[in-house]
């Protein structure tokens, strides 16, 4: 895998298909239009698009503090990482107009990365199918993936990312969620390509930027170990253990490198408490689309640490049972983790969920086994529409209260959780049907009913 020349590295340019051109044009055009309209200012303050970590208002505050020679991490205002701060400082000093161009570029590159993730994952799926087809039942021929089926997937993923109104709004709001999506997409791409050095670098950058991708290391390590073994891997095997350790070590080495790099501008590690510490301790309880704030506003200080541990554990714990169940499908595991972190992180925004939505087309072959799609779509639309409405009603009119807004947040989280569990169920069911045929019957000829336990 690592020796295979990658098409995008060779200095030759493939002609871009017309569909992609349209998608790029439409996506970037919509973003540019929204950025230059009067809505941009309103979007920048929307809590659904800009969390205390990603908000552009705080970024400008940090940049101006830097202008005055004060470290932005001394106060409680600024929670982005130093390297991003440096980058935007450079850009803002060269020319102020570079900032919108920067965010457009970020979304463009993320779209390209998502497209490449699509191509690579589809190829990986076909290869895996080729290897495993001998275990499948003869009746399940209709369920097998074909190249033709997967042809349109990368385009769909690109479209799902660039034309998603959530990402368009997020880009126009100058929210650094776009950057977060960029590094996570980069991590996904590097992971699927299987080069340990690059994969660990990418996951390190992702977990440096947003804390939760630390857990990506587990499926990535398993995938790389699988590649090296040429098939199934088991924990008992010392070679695979060594491979896992090497991946983990590489990840932490790159992370340490990045941390050392961030230490240099201010000569202190204050930024670590402001970025990582902020995300993990969640001190800011202004309403957002997450699940933390409501609980912590009404909690006694005595129990705060306990519940903080519970909530953060909830965000990261699922990697372990999924690693056990999806031992043979680390790519799916990785994509599920993207969705899980988008729901359970301490300060989520719409952009995080939109990245997961754009990963869905690659698992389109599982959709026919999904049962809750209608409910999920309805809940999603309901929560996206009602969140700003009820927030306005609560904060400005005073006729609603926090419960209304939190109910919408809960509906939003439930929609995503239903989507994740349904996708998992559909995937596992498809695997089952692949092995046992599309309509398996038990001994006496009765059809088997499928349940997810």
């Amino acid at each position: 895998m690592s020796a295979e020349p990658r098409a995008e590295q060779r200095p030759q340019f493939r002609p871009v298909p017309k569909a992609l051109k349209y998608i790029f044009g439409l996506g970037l055009g919509a973003r540019a239009v929204l950025m230059s309209s009067h809505l941009a200012g309103w979007l920048q303050d929307r809590l659904e698009l800009a969390s205390p970590v990603t908000s552009w208002t705080r970024m400008t505050e940090g940049l101006s503090l830097l202008d005055h020679g004060i470290s932005p991490y001394e106060g409680d205002m600024f929670h982005e990482t130093p390297l991003v701060l440096m980058l935007l400082y450079c850009l803002s000093k060269i020319w102020g107009g570079l900032i919108p161009i920067f965010f457009l570029l970020v979304d463009l590159v993320t779209g390209c990365l998502v497209h490449e993730v699509g191509t690579n994952v589809c190829r990986h799926l076909l290869e895996k199918q080729g290897r495993h087809v001998k275990f499948y039942s003869t009746d399940s021929l209709s369920l097998l993936l074909t190249g033709k089926q997967l042809n349109s997937v990368p385009r769909l993923m690109l479209g799902a990312y660039l034309l998603n109104p959530l990402t368009i709004a997020s880009c126009a709001a100058y929210s650094t969620t776009g950057l977060h999506s960029l590094v996570i997409a980069g991590a996904l791409l590097a992971a699927v390509q299987g080069n340990r050095l690059l994969a660990t670098l990418a996951t390190a950058v992702a977990s440096y930027q947003c804390v939760y991708p630390e857990i990506f290391i587990i499926p990535v390590a398993m995938y790389i170990a699988q590649l090296e073994q040429g098939g199934r891997f088991s924990f008992r095997d010392p070679d695979s253990r060594l491979s896992l350790l090497q991946t983990a070590g590489g990840h932490f080495a790159w992370l340490g490198f990045l941390w050392a790099l961030s230490f240099l501008p201010f000569g202190s590690m204050d930024w670590l408490y402001s970025t990582r510490g902020f995300v993990m301790l969640a001190p800011d309880l202004t309403p957002n689309m997450g699940l933390f704030w409501y609980f912590f506003t009404e909690m006694f200080e005595h129990f705060r640490i306990f519940f903080l541990c519970v909530f953060q554990l909830n965000a990261v714990f699922y990697v372990i049972p999924l690693a056990v169940k999806l031992r043979d499908h680390p790519m799916f595991h990785l994509h599920l983790l993207v969705g899980l972190t988008a729901v359970f992180k301490s300060y989520p925004t719409f952009g995080d969920a939109a990245l997961f939505l754009s990963l869905l087309p690659v698992w389109g072959h599982c959709f026919k086994y999904m049962r809750n799609l209608f409910l999920v779509v309805c809940m999603w639309l309901y929560s996206i529409v009602l969140a700003p409405v009820l927030w306005h009603l609560w904060i400005y009119y005073g006729s609603a209260n926090a419960n209304f807004f939190y109910a919408v947040t809960l509906a939003y989280a439930t929609a995503q959780i239903f989507l994740l569990t349904d996708l998992l169920y559909a995937f596992l069911r498809r695997e089952f049907h692949l092995r046992h045929g599309p309509a398996p019957k038990e001994g006496q000829g009765m059809p088997i009913l499928m349940n997810l336990k």
Binding site: Q9, L66, D67, H68, G69, M86, K93, N195, L197, L198, L201, F257, L258, A260, L261, L264, P265, G267
Partner: protein, 387 residues
Amino acid sequence: MAAHSGRNWAGLMFLCLLFVSVAASSNVEDQVGGFFKSGHTNNWAVLVCTSRFWFNYRHIANTLSVYRSVKRLGIPDSQIILMLADDMACNPRNPRPATVFNNANQHINVYGDNVEVDYRGYEVTVENFIRVLTGRLPPSTPRSKRLLTDDRSNVLVYMTGHGGEGFLKFQDAEEISNVELADAFQQMWQKNRYHEILFMIDTCQAVSMYHKFYSPNVIGIGSAQVGEDSLSHHVDPSIGVYIIDRYTYYLLEFLETVTPDSKKTLADLFRVCPKRVCVSTPGVRTDLFTRDPNTVLITDFFGSVRNVEITTETITLKRNVTAQSCSGSSCPGSRRGKRRKKLAYANQFPVEAAYEEEVTKPQWHFPMYFVAALSVFCITVVSAFRI
């Protein structure tokens, strides 16, 4: 002999006239002295009835009795704040509408023909009462609802209703405590809103309401001691409820004998309702009052008596500096002129100084070692790609 006696008589007459004229002139000086005895120039009254409902008829009657007396003795409606929590005169249960009597014999209609109620019904709240006293009313409040007193005003504050130890109940919903009342009076003192206050209260355990006073020039009169109940006087069978309280009944009886030129003093007022008629023991608090109550006229508080004497002589007035009326540079012992520093508000937002030096160039630059380390990192990443 007769001529001698005639001359003697004339001389005697002349002497007598001289004596009389001298006496008269000294009388004028005395009367002038009498102008400045009391120190107030206007009178105000705040009369509060805090109970509503038909069975509290007597509280309305109490307040209206005092209102009647105060008006009769000269305080104009513009200087009376009358707060009645309920309307008895026009209550459908009143068998004699538009009248409120203090006596079963319908002796005096205390409602009268030109009553002017300033705060009525649900407007009688603790908040409104304290706002009236301290003057902290919204700008849209009409003049008739404001207590526009100054530092030369004598204020009569009369309150009646249901009370307990340290509190007075307003409208069955809230209470005013004696601490709040004392603080309200202190606010009035600090804002120079009164010269002297006569505080009268006719409730159960009334004296507890003036226990916490700490502002100067306040007299407190309560109808019952702590632990005693202030009782009502009698029932009017045709109305069906008690129509007046004992203390106020005898107070009204006493005030009916007071005329605007009466010389009756506060000492007489303190003797109004002895225990044998009132059953409860009235209480008095004079320790905060600087003048001797024996010398204070009733009309200093209950009436609005203006001393107008027309003389044809020129009288030299001496500056009468008393402890109450010392202000600013006229106070003995204050230095004039030099220490008179003009006071002004400090500049709250000294932004001019901060904006004088604009941030022309940024005060932070990329450290060299950071740039070096970043380039090393980039080279490592690119080489990792190549591998």
